[in-house]
C-alpha cells in the first residue's frame, strides 16, 4: 500500500514519519517481554532501594498516632460518629424549642385567622383584622359575630317553630282599634300578653283589664316608622329589614313561634290544660310552648313596626332586651289569647280552613274565615266583637308568613 501510488515506496518511510525511525521495540506501544532474570534483577533493585525500615523516631511517631486514634475511637459511640461539639449540642437543644415556637406561631396564626373568619374576635380586633384583610383582598366580617348569629338564629328559628297561637283559640280580644297595629311588632309584645294571659287562663276571661290597660298606645300615631327607617335602639332590630314594606294588613315576617319563647317564660304550663280539654285535636300547650329562656326572644323580636300605630319602636329597651311595656299592646293580636277563651263565649263564628297547613287547634265554636278573604277586623278596622277575630287575623298572618319564604339570612343592622 502506498500513499502516492508508487508500489515500491512504503508509507512508513523516513520522509513521511521521521519520528518513527528506529527500532520498534523501543516504542512504548509495543512492549517486549522482559527476560525473567532481568525482571528478577529489577525487582530486587527496587526492594533493596525502597523497602527500608522506618527510622525509630518515625516509627514511634506513627505508633503514637495509631494508639491515640485507637483511644479516640474507643471513646466515641459505636455509631462511629465523632462526639458532637458543644456548639452542635447547643444547636440540638435549641432545635426543639425553635420547632415548638414555630408550631405555636403557625397554630396561633391559623387559630386567629379562623376566629377572624368566623367573626369571633373582639370587636375592635375584628374590625382591625377585617380592615387589614380588606387591604389584602380578602373579605372578613367586620362586625362581631354575636350580633349576626343572634339575627341568624331568629331568622332560622322562625319558619321552624310551629305557630303557638294555633294551640288555643283566640281569647277575648282587645278593642278593635289596636287590631291593625298589632302585626308590626307582634313578636315583641307577646311576652306581655302571655304573662297576662296566664291569670285569665286559670280564672277565666279576666284578661281584658290588663290588656286594655296596656293597649293604650301612647305614641302609636306619634312615631310612624317607615320601611326606610327601621332602625331602633336595639341590635335585634335586624329583623326590621325583613318587614320593611309591611302595611297594616301585611302580616309580619316574624312568626309567633319565634316570639313564643319569651311569652312562655311567664306562662306556667298549668294554665293551658283548660283549653285543650275542649277539643281533642288541640295540641297540648306544653308541647307547643318552647323553652322558657327569656334571653332568646326580646332582642330578636324588637323589630320596628312598619305600622304607624305600633308604639313598640319608640320604647327604650330593657336590660335584658325585653320590652315589657310594648308587649302588652300587641298581645291580643298575636293570637295568644286562646288560653283564656271560654268555650261558651259567644262570638262571631269564624270558619277555619280544614286543610290549612298549620294544624290549628281552635275550640269548636270558633271558626276561622278562609285565607283568601281578609279578616273582618282588618277590613273594618273597628273593634271586633271579641278577641277571636284578632286571633284569627294573627293566624292568617302566620299562615301568610309561612307561605312566603323568609330570607335565610338577615342583614345585621349595627347601631352605633
Amino acid at each position: 500500500m502506498t500513499l502516492d501510488g508508487d508500489p515500491g515506496r512504503s508509507p512508513w518511510s523516513p520522509d513521511l514519519n521521521p519520528e518513527l525511525r528506529g527500532d520498534p521495540a523501543d516504542w512504548d506501544c509495543l512492549p517486549v517481554e522482559v527476560a525473567p532474570e532481568v525482571q528478577e534483577h529489577l525487582e530486587s533493585t527496587i526492594r533493596e532501594g525502597l523497602l527500608v525500615e522506618p527510622p525509630p523516631h518515625v516509627r514511634e511517631r506513627h505508633l503514637t498516632a495509631m494508639l491515640a486514634a485507637r483511644r479516640q475511637r474507643s471513646a466515641t459511640p459505636p455509631s462511629g460518629r465523632p462526639p458532637a461539639s458543644p456548639r452542635r449540642r447547643a444547636g440540638r437543644r435549641a432545635r426543639p424549642r425553635t420547632a415548638l415556637a414555630g408550631i405555636g406561631l403557625v397554630g396561633g396564626i391559623f387559630f386567629g385567622g379562623g376566629l377572624a373568619a368566623a367573626g369571633e374576635l373582639p370587636p375592635p380586633l375584628q374590625v382591625a383584622v377585617a380592615s387589614v384583610a380588606e387591604r389584602l383582598g380578602m373579605e372578613l366580617p367586620a362586625t362581631p359575630a354575636r350580633t349576626r348569629t343572634r339575627t341568624v338564629e331568629v331568622a332560622v328559628a322562625t319558619p321552624v317553630t310551629p305557630p303557638v297561637s294555633e294551640a288555643s283559640p283566640p281569647p277575648a280580644m282587645p278593642p278593635p282599634t289596636e287590631a291593625p297595629a298589632e302585626e308590626g311588632d307582634r313578636g315583641e309584645r307577646r311576652p306581655g300578653t302571655t304573662a297576662e294571659r296566664q291569670e285569665p287562663a286559670t280564672t277565666g276571661a279576666t284578661m281584658a283589664p290588663p290588656l286594655a290597660a296596656s293597649q293604650t298606645p301612647p305614641s302609636a300615631t306619634a312615631t310612624p316608622p317607615t320601611a326606610a327607617t327601621p332602625t331602633t335602639t336595639r341590635p335585634s332590630t335586624s329583623m326590621a329589614p325583613t318587614t320593611p314594606s309591611t302595611s297594616g294588613t301585611t302580616p309580619p315576617t316574624t312568626s309567633p313561634g319565634s316570639t313564643r319563647p319569651s311569652s312562655s317564660t311567664t306562662t306556667p304550663p298549668t294554665t293551658t290544660p283548660s283549653t285543650p280539654s275542649t277539643d281533642p285535636t288541640t295540641e297540648p300547650p306544653s308541647t307547643t310552648e318552647p323553652s322558657t329562656d327569656p334571653t332568646t326572644e326580646p332582642p330578636s323580636t324588637t323589630e320596628p313596626s312598619t305600622d304607624p300605630t305600633t308604639p313598640s319602636t319608640t320604647l327604650p329597651p330593657d336590660e335584658d332586651g325585653s320590652s315589657t311595656t310594648t308587649t302588652s299592646t300587641t298581645a291580643p293580636s298575636m293570637g295568644l289569647g286562646p288560653l283564656d277563651v271560654p268555650a261558651a263565649q259567644p262570638g262571631p263564628p269564624v270558619s277555619m280552613p280544614p286543610a290549612g297547613p298549620p294544624t290549628l287547634t281552635i275550640p269548636a265554636p270558633i271558626t276561622v274565615p278562609p285565607m283568601a278573604g281578609p279578616p273582618p277586623s282588618h277590613d273594618s278596622g273597628g273593634p271586633a266583637a271579641d278577641g277571636t277575630v284578632e286571633g284569627q287575623a294573627a293566624d292568617e298572618a302566620d299562615t301568610a308568613a309561612d307561605a312566603e319564604p323568609e330570607p335565610a339570612d338577615v342583614e345585621p343592622v349595627v347601631t352605633p
Binding site: 523501543d26 512504548d28 517481554e33 525482571q39 527500608v52 522506618p54 527510622p55 498516632a65 495509631m66
Partner: protein, 185 residues
C-alpha cells in the same frame, strides 16, 4: 514480609485495639508503605503514612478477610491518602506566591531523599523509576513491594486487571531499557 498463619489472631487482637497487635501490623506494613510512597514521589511520605495508619486503626474493625486482602485493604487506604495529599499540595501551589512558601521542587522530599540516597540501591531504584509514568510506577511498586496480585492491584488502583497487566508489561520494558542504559557507559 508476610505474617503467615498468625495473621488471623493478630488481626483479631488489632481489632480489639491491642497496642502490641497494632505494633506488629505496623512493623510488617510500614516498610512497604513508606517505600510505595517514596517510589511514587510523595514529598512527605512519613506524614502520609501516618495518616494512612491512623485511618487504618479507625477502620480496621470493618475488615474481614485474609492477609492478602488485608494488605490490599491497607494499600487502598495508603493510595487514597496519597491522592489526597497530592490534591492538597496542588491547592497549596495555587496559593499566591507571597503568602505561601512553595514546596521544594523534585519528586522526593529532602528527608526521604537523604535516606534513600544513603544506599546505592535506593539511589538506583529511584533512578530507574524516574522513567515510568505514575500508573506504571504504582503497578510496579504494588506488585514488587506489596506483593499484591494483579487483581488486588487493579482493585487498589481502580482499574481493570487487563489494564494493570499492560501497565506492568510496559513498566518492565521501560525498566529494562533503563537498566541497559545504566550499564552502558
Amino acid at each position: 514480609m508476610a505474617i503467615g498463619e498468625g495473621f488471623d489472631a493478630l488481626l483479631v487482637a488489632a481489632q480489639r485495639g491491642e497496642p502490641s497487635a497494632l505494633g506488629a501490623l505496623y512493623r510488617d506494613l510500614a516498610p512497604a508503605v513508606l517505600g510505595y510512597l517514596r517510589g511514587r514521589g510523595v514529598p512527605d511520605p512519613e506524614d502520609v503514612a501516618a495518616e494512612a495508619f491512623v485511618h487504618l486503626v479507625r477502620s480496621i474493625e470493618r475488615f474481614d478477610g485474609d492477609e492478602a486482602g488485608f494488605r490490599s485493604f491497607v494499600f487502598t487506604i495508603v493510595h487514597r491518602r496519597m491522592l489526597d495529599a497530592g490534591r492538597r499540595a496542588r491547592r497549596r501551589l495555587d496559593e499566591p506566591w507571597d503568602t505561601f512558601e512553595l514546596a521544594p521542587a523534585g519528586p522526593v522530599a529532602p528527608a526521604a531523599e537523604e535516606e534513600a540516597l544513603d544506599s546505592l540501591a535506593a539511589e538506583r531504584a529511584m533512578r530507574l523509576l524516574d522513567g515510568l509514568t505514575d500508573d506504571q510506577r504504582s503497578v510496579v511498586l504494588l506488585r514488587v513491594l506489596a506483593d499484591l496480585p494483579v487483581a488486588e492491584v487493579a482493585r487498589v488502583l481502580g482499574k481493570e486487571p487487563g489494564a494493570v497487566k499492560t501497565l506492568q508489561r510496559r513498566a518492565l520494558a521501560s525498566l529494562a531499557r533503563a537498566l541497559v542504559a545504566e550499564r552502558e557507559p
